[in-house]
Amino acid sequence: MTIRQLSVFLENKTGRINEVVRTLGANGINMHAFSMAETADFGILRLIVSDVDKAVEVLRAHDFAVMSTDVVCLSCDNVPGSLAVILEYLAEEQIFIEYMYAFAQNDKAHVVIKPNDLKHCLEVLEAHHCSILTQEIL
């Protein structure tokens, strides 16, 4: 029920994100979502893509440091307060969120979560009948 997120290490250097995006595009890989985390001297680009294995292969061939990480992608109603309810379930169970990013479209919002305890997080979400996206649905 988890999805595989791609993480790419980037030096803080103009044009590096373009190269990642261009490489993926040239190989017919679509991006569903991404987020950029940055520190003073390097960044980590996190992406949800249509074909993770192929993306790893083509990015490595272009000398990028790439890894995949399992994350949870859930879907909730695009109305005020809906995410708060879900995050409350996780907090009650002491699940810590290392990072998350989201996008909303029409009546649905999609949230990518990297919890400290993936298995427990999934159990909690399932117990509360939250809608979890799978790689296939994406």
Binding site: F9, E11, T39, D41, I44, R60, D63, A65, V66, M67
Partner: protein, 437 residues
């Protein structure tokens, strides 16, 4: 203990006489057996008879690493191939490796000088001694190995790698001494701590550390963490291998085995000999070698020679710790920094590729040093704090080795040019303005 008091404590005048005799014999030997030296001497209008005492050594030509490469593989060998019983090769980062051949007598001399070193550290027949230099073409492993055997202690040929197993052997076999690089000693200390072994469970008391430059700071740290006394062991394959010089219990300068290896200090630019006490490039002449004897070999190592009798009783001259290499020293904030020091730290951390670039700059009148390294793919993490910890671990280690802080910059794979030579590992952006009145 002094292994060979006759030689190690010989009165200076007597020693100079011995050195003079050996030099005369050596020069005649290479003149007749090595075309390279014969041609050089003929060009300088020099005959073997012109060498009458050790003072005449300054008349002789120098030998460089390039000469060894140009004469690859056996061009500088003086002994017939049938007399050569072993060959070692030093790592060549560029071009040909340098090949050194040893006769049976050369190996005996090597064991002798290595035994002198071990005795100076206090090793006896009762000790169990682990040799953790690499065994193979590199001279470190076998050189130290036969010295331990010759002395009569028990040798454990641990070589490098499989450090956890090594720690167990050190504990279970009650190993009392170890020969390795100082950076390996630090790695060993780390492994001991990681395994939850207390240093009180170990019987280590003597460490012979060499093959790379190290600092007094590293000595203190190794001594503290492993509970032993650490001594410098110096050598280079072109001259013999480990055992050319060693510290004694005073830990104050390394005694050169001058009856076999005659040291000089020269100005690396003018090539003029410098007096005792002045820092310059160390030059060796192998007074007794048969296989591949060398005249005035330029080591590129920067040091100075300390005159005077040591409190230990040895009369042989001592060399101060190697300040670095004449070909790649950087002075940053007044501190001598050598790329080789940075290299040894990076090589000691499995998380990084063995490649780096040093960027030196001067910002607001303060020198800055940036160390660029590539994180190995397997150690790249999606977790930012793990990446920052990795960066901090490297900068802490660099600080302890270099004595100055360096800014570590983590780079993408293959973004650092593969090293083609020393100069390409350093970008020095500083411009020094000279005021002219």
């Amino acid at each position: 203990m002094i292994w060979n008091p006759n030689k190690e404590c010989m009165p200076r005048e007597q020693l100079r006489e011995l050195q003079g005799k050996r030099l005369q014999k050596l020069v005649a030997y290479v003149y007749h057996n090595v075309p390279f030296y014969r041609h050089k001497m003929q060009e300088m209008d020099l005959m073997p008879d012109d060498i009458r005492s050790i003072d005449d050594i300054v008349k002789l030509p120098f030998t460089t690493k390039q000469d060894l490469r140009n004469n690859y593989p056996y061009g500088l060998m003086a002994a017939p191939k049938s007399e050569v019983v072993r060959v070692h090769a030093s790592s060549g980062t560029t071009g040909n490796p340098t090949i050194v051949g040893y006769t049976r007598k050369d190996l005996a001399v090597w064991s002798e000088v290595m035994s002198r070193c071990l005795s100076a550290y206090g090793v006896t027949r009762e000790d169990t001694f682990s040799v953790s230099y690499g065994y193979g073409l590199f001279t470190g492993g076998l050189g130290a190995h036969y010295g331990v055997e010759n002395l009569g202690a028990t040798v454990i040929p641990a070589s490098t790698g499989n450090t956890e197993k090594h720690v167990r052997l050190i504990r279970d076999l009650k190993i009392t001494g170890i020969a390795c690089t100082p950076s390996y000693a630090l790695y060993l200390a780390e492994t001991v701590e990681k395994m939850g072994v207390s240093k009180d469970e170990l019987s280590l008391r003597i460490g012979a550390f060499g093959a790379e430059p190290w600092t007094e700071h590293m000595r203190q740290e190794i001594q503290e963490r492993l509970g032993l006394k650490g001594y410098n062991l110096y050598g280079l394959s072109e001259i013999m291998g480990p055992g050319v010089s060693c510290e004694c219990e005073e830990q104050n300068g390394s005694h050169i085995h001058e009856d076999h290896f005659y040291p000089e200090i020269i100005d690396p630019n003018t090539l003029e000999p410098l007096p005792y006490g002045q820092q310059g490039e160390l030059v060796f002449t192998t007074l007794t070698k048969e296989g591949m004897p060398l005249l005035r070999y330029r080591t590129k190592d920067l040091t100075s020679l300390m005159p005077g009798v040591c409190p230990c009783g040895r009369t042989s001259v001592r060399m101060t710790p190697i300040m670095g290499r004449s070909d790649d020293m950087l002075i940053i904030r007044g501190i001598n920094v050598f790329p080789s020091q940075v290299e040894s730290v990076i090589l000691g951390m499995k998380e990084f590729e063995p490649r780096y670039m040093l960027v030196v700059d001067r910002i607001n009148n303060l020198d800055t040093l940036q160390v660029q390294v590539e994180v190995r793919r397997d150690y790249f993490s999606d977790d930012i704090s793990a990446m920052l910890n990795l960066k901090k671990a490297l900068s802490d280690k660099l600080k302890s080795v270099l004595s100055i802080s360096a800014d570590v910059k983590l780079m993408e794979p293959n973004s650092i040019q593969r090293s083609q030579g020393k100069s390409q590992r350093v970008i020095d952006k500083r411009t020094f303005l000279v005021n002219k009145e």
